[in-house]
């Protein structure tokens, strides 16, 4: 390296081949893809150890998830709540909070919408008014539930990961308590449930498909939240607070309000997913609401790098895995926990891959060794 003339104080720096934004985008795609590939390999080893054929496994995932219009619709059906719960993790993650409360918000939101529907149905309210009220109730309850974790974090210093997880257990317990107690429908003999929604009180399917409107809603909300996080002052403030809390304070940003608002948005998303589970899938609230969508959403958000738009395709991927679960269970004679093993492996490889950011030599923008 030839040194510049002594009078120039500028430090020579090299130009990266691509501008930093594209590099960051490539990095954020290459690393999760690599992690997925790695987990597929590890899972194949696991299958080989069990004496099963990995190729057959992945071809069954293809068949069960995307090969026919039936399986595609099955996939989309399962992706719908995952989009919303994925968003529920991704939004607070931007402000640096790790929230595991989506499952609880989903359960309570679903329960609340089922319960508020009862007086409206009995009172003969019009459905066009009733369904939005149910949806809003679900969002409000979910938002308040997770917002509580945010409030505890900011104003009482309680670790939000722990509190939101514990709130989830409480939420599921409350749901079971109410569904098996005061709100149990006498007609539900096998499985304690709330009063079923009347046939016209159900959310229907998107015309021409057997996929309910929750999917379309999820897509719209993902787009809205992307705009909120990437293009508004709220999102910008949240990114500052998430990236460096002390800097955000020194800029006078209302970090407490930002934290609580992010959590409330997250809870509202999960609550809305609960509403669709009740109004479009089950028709009533019962223990089936706690179907781990909230937890799988964490995985979805991680793989999507907390980007609201990327949550959508990733939710489809996990929807496909879930949709093919039954087929694999039957054809390969494997327990349904197999899919959980795969999810677990994906999660661990993903977390490990986090350590690679900024370390891939061909994607480096930094001028290494700049400070001595």
């Amino acid at each position: 390296m030839s040194l510049p003339s002594a009078s120039s104080v500028a430090r020579p720096h090299r130009k990266p081949r691509l501008d930093p934004r594209s590099l960051a985008l490539i990095e954020a795609s290459v690393i999760p893809m690599g992690a997925l590939l790695a987990s597929a390999l590890i899972f194949s080893l696991f299958l080989l150890m069990l004496g099963k054929d990995p190729i057959r496994f992945f071809s069954l995932v293809w068949t069960g998830g995307v090969a026919s219009s039936f399986s595609i619709q099955n996939t989309l059906q399962r992706a719908a709540p995952l989009i919303l719960t994925g968003l529920a993790f991704a939004v607070p993650a931007r402000i640096g909070m790790t929230l595991l409360g989506a499952e609880g918000a989903l359960v309570l939101g679903g329960l609340a919408s089922a319960l508020i529907a009862i007086p409206m149905m009995l009172g003969g309210w019009p459905v066009w008014l009733g369904l939005p009220i149910m949806a809003l109730t679900a969002m409000a309850v979910g938002g308040a539930w997770v917002g509580l974790a945010g409030w505890l974090r900011h104003y009482r210093g309680v670790n939000e990961t722990i509190s939101s997880l514990l709130l989830t257990y409480i939420a599921v317990a409350i749901m079971n308590f109410l569904v098996e107690g005061v709100f149990r429908d006498p007609g539900s003999t096998n499985k304690a449930s709330t009063m079923p929604l009347g046939p016209d009180w159900r959310v229907g399917d998107i015309p021409g498909t057997s996929v309910h409107w929750g999917l379309a809603t999820g897509l719209i909300i993902a787009a809205l939240l992307w705009v909120l996080m990437e293009r508004t002052t709220f999102g910008f403030s949240a990114r500052i607070a998430g990236g460096n809390l002390r800097a955000a304070q020194a800029q006078g940003l209302p970090v407490g309000r930002l934290a609580v608002a992010s959590c409330a948005i997250a809870g509202a998303c999960a609550g809305l997913a609960g509403f669709f589970e009740v109004a479009a899938v089950h028709g009533q609230a019962n223990a089936s609401l706690a179907a781990q969508y909230g937890f799988t959403g964490i995985l979805v958000a991680f793989l999507a790098r907390q980007n609201p738009l990327a949550v959508v395709p990733v939710a489809f991927l996990f929807g496909a895995l879930a949709a093919s679960g039954g087929l694999i269970q039957r054809r390969m004679e494997m327990p349904d926990a197999t899919m959980l093993v795969l999810q677990g492996i994906i999660f661990v490889t993903l977390l490990t891959s986090e350590s690679l950011y900024g370390r891939l030599p061909f994607l480096s923008v930094s001028q290494a060794g700049d400070r001595t």
Binding site: A6, V9, D19, P20, R231, T232, S237, N244, A247, Q367
Partner: protein, 520 residues
């Protein structure tokens, strides 16, 4: 293969043609350094000149790409700090490496490599006492390290190296946290030990005064290269500094213009706040700051300066007292920052002022993103306008970055601070709160940054400057106060005092500054 041999007498050390690169950046380029046995050698150079890289190679933190090292004329290879320790090379770092909650004696014993599973404290203690008899410094062995003063800690660091039989001492800016009197004492004793050939000292320093007073030889590095060496007693400070900074010449101090002080602007009355452990770190502090003046607050770190800055910038709640700007009560919220035109250059910008992963342009926009022109309708932001503004300021403030979209963590320290300057000082400033703005920066950046702060004062801003660097305080301030133990002394005019007097106050020989009526 490392050949282990111990010298209990001062060794000589040489590096020959040492080179080290990080990526494409050549941090060391063919550097040869010769430190004679029993000498007190100064290693000079700007930040980024390669001094730290060189001593880290000597200590085995880095492995040099090329070059040799010799001790007492024999070639040695050092692959890790353990090798260095075994060869008797020890280092005192800029920041203390003692365990604060242990006593001095415990710190010494646990630093040994051959420490047994069960420590017989009684016999260790006897041996320590005997060892301390031979030491030139006195340190209270039973005192918990957190209760020692900075000077005592630094002495203990040096004693630790001698206790470990390390006779080639590398000191990395050892006096940056000390008062002038403490520094003189420690360097004086080390100089005598070197003269008696008990140790050899290699000291990284920025302070020509110390180099001239205590060192016998020196080496200068510039941009990773050897530029010269000589007898420290013969070469004068001006010559050394021109070797360090090349043809740039000495930096003229920032120009101070006459200003009209049209009334007080910032006023603190009885301000108190609690530290992280719930202790009062600032108590009943009052001060007045007028427009067009810089009030410098001197003091060794840890006396409440950081907490004071945090209170003013909204990072720490007030536990008592009030802050007023132009007579109106001031709460550090975003709205008030804008309303009263309050800006800040906090210390450690990476920790307090920027978001490392966000881009330079975004970091520049922290003050302006929620106002037009970046703000459009419905809370939407124009990233194009943000980027545009960022590019203008990058040019105007001479920020070296590969792109406005590069994450700010890829910039050097000086450029990070320039980015913060660009954000905070590009508009109209009424109140400016500054803490250690030039810490760890190179000459050119220091000149830039001090110039900009002075410009701000000349335009009529009221500037509060907290700094641990006395030279900076004296260069910049109109008035000087000293902060110690959470209290502040009455401000005195810079022209009416001198470094020795302020240094004494800092050291805490100061009944007159702690008590007594405050400014007003």
């Amino acid at each position: 293969m490392t050949k282990i041999f111990k010298t209990f007498r001062a060794p000589s050390l040489e590096t020959l043609h040492m080179s080290k690169s990080f990526g494409r950046n050549k941090a060391l380029d063919d550097v040869s350094l010769k430190v004679a046995a029993g000498s007190f050698h100064a290693l000079l150079g700007e930040n980024g000149a390669g001094k730290s890289t060189l001593v880290k190679c000597m200590m085995g933190f880095y492995e040099a790409d090329a070059g040799q090292m010799m001790i007492d004329g024999q070639e040695i290879r050092i692959h890790s700090p353990r090798d260095a320790q075994a060869l008797g090379i020890g280092m005192v770092y800029q920041h203390f490496t003692l365990v604060p909650c242990l006593t001095a004696a415990e710190n010494l014993v646990i630093s040994r490599r051959d420490i047994p599973m069960v420590i017989n404290w009684k016999s260790e203690r006897q041996r320590l006492d005997a060892f301390m008899e031979t030491m030139p410094f006195r340190v209270r062995l039973d005192a918990q390290v957190s209760t020692l003063s900075a000077g005592e800690k630094q002495k203990l660091e040096i004693i630790k190296l001698l206790y470990l039989d390390q006779r080639f001492l590398i000191l990395d800016e050892p006096t940056s946290v000390l008062t002038p009197a403490e520094a003189d004492e420690i360097l004086g004793v080390l100089g005598e030990m070197a003269l008696r050939r008990e140790v050899t000292v290699l000291m990284i320093s920025h302070k020509f005064r110390e180099v001239k007073a205590f060192c016998d030889s020196f080496t200068v590095l510039r941009r990773g290269r050897f530029v010269g060496a000589g007898d420290a007693r013969r070469v004068n400070a001006a010559e050394m500094s021109s070797m360090m900074i090349g043809d740039v010449g000495m930096r003229p101090p920032a120009t101070r213009l006459k200003t009209i002080q049209d009334g007080p602007k910032l006023e603190l009355r009885g301000v108190s706040t609690l530290g992280d452990e719930g202790r009062r770190v600032v108590s009943d502090l009052s001060l007045k700051l007028c427009s067009g003046e810089i009030l410098g607050i001197a003091g060794v770190s840890g006396n409440g300066q950081s907490a004071l800055i945090e209170v003013l910038s909204g990072q720490r709640p007030l536990s008592g007292g009030e802050i007023k700007i132009n007579g109106a009560p001031f709460e550090p919220t975003r709205r008030n920052f804008d309303r009263f035109k309050v800006f800040g250059l906090p210390e450690e910008p990476m920790r307090n002022a920027v978001v490392p992963r966000m881009s330079v342009a975004e970091n520049i926009a922290f003050r302006s993103f929620d106002k037009p022109p970046v703000l459009k309708r419905f809370g939407l932001m124009s990233s194009a306008r943000m980027r545009q503004r960022g590019m203008e300021l990058i040019q105007q403030f001479n920020i070296h970055t590969s792109s406005p979209d590069a994450p700010i963590e890829t910039l050097s320290g000086g450029n990070v601070q320039r980015t913060v300057l660009a954000r905070e000082l590009s508009g109209e400033v009424d109140i400016l709160i500054v803490a250690n703005p030039c810490f760890g920066l190179d000459f050119a950046s220091v000149a830039d940054i001090r110039g900009k702060i002075m410009e701000c004062r000349n335009r009529g801003a009221a500037v509060l400057l907290v700094s641990e660097d006395l030279d900076e305080i004296f260069e910049m301030s109109d008035k000087i106060s000293v902060m110690s133990a959470g209290k502040i002394s009455d401000p005195v005019s810079t022209l009416a005092t001198d470094a020795m007097r302020i240094g004494k106050q800092i050291a805490g020989q100061t009944d007159e500054i702690v008590a007594g009526p405050q400014a007003e």
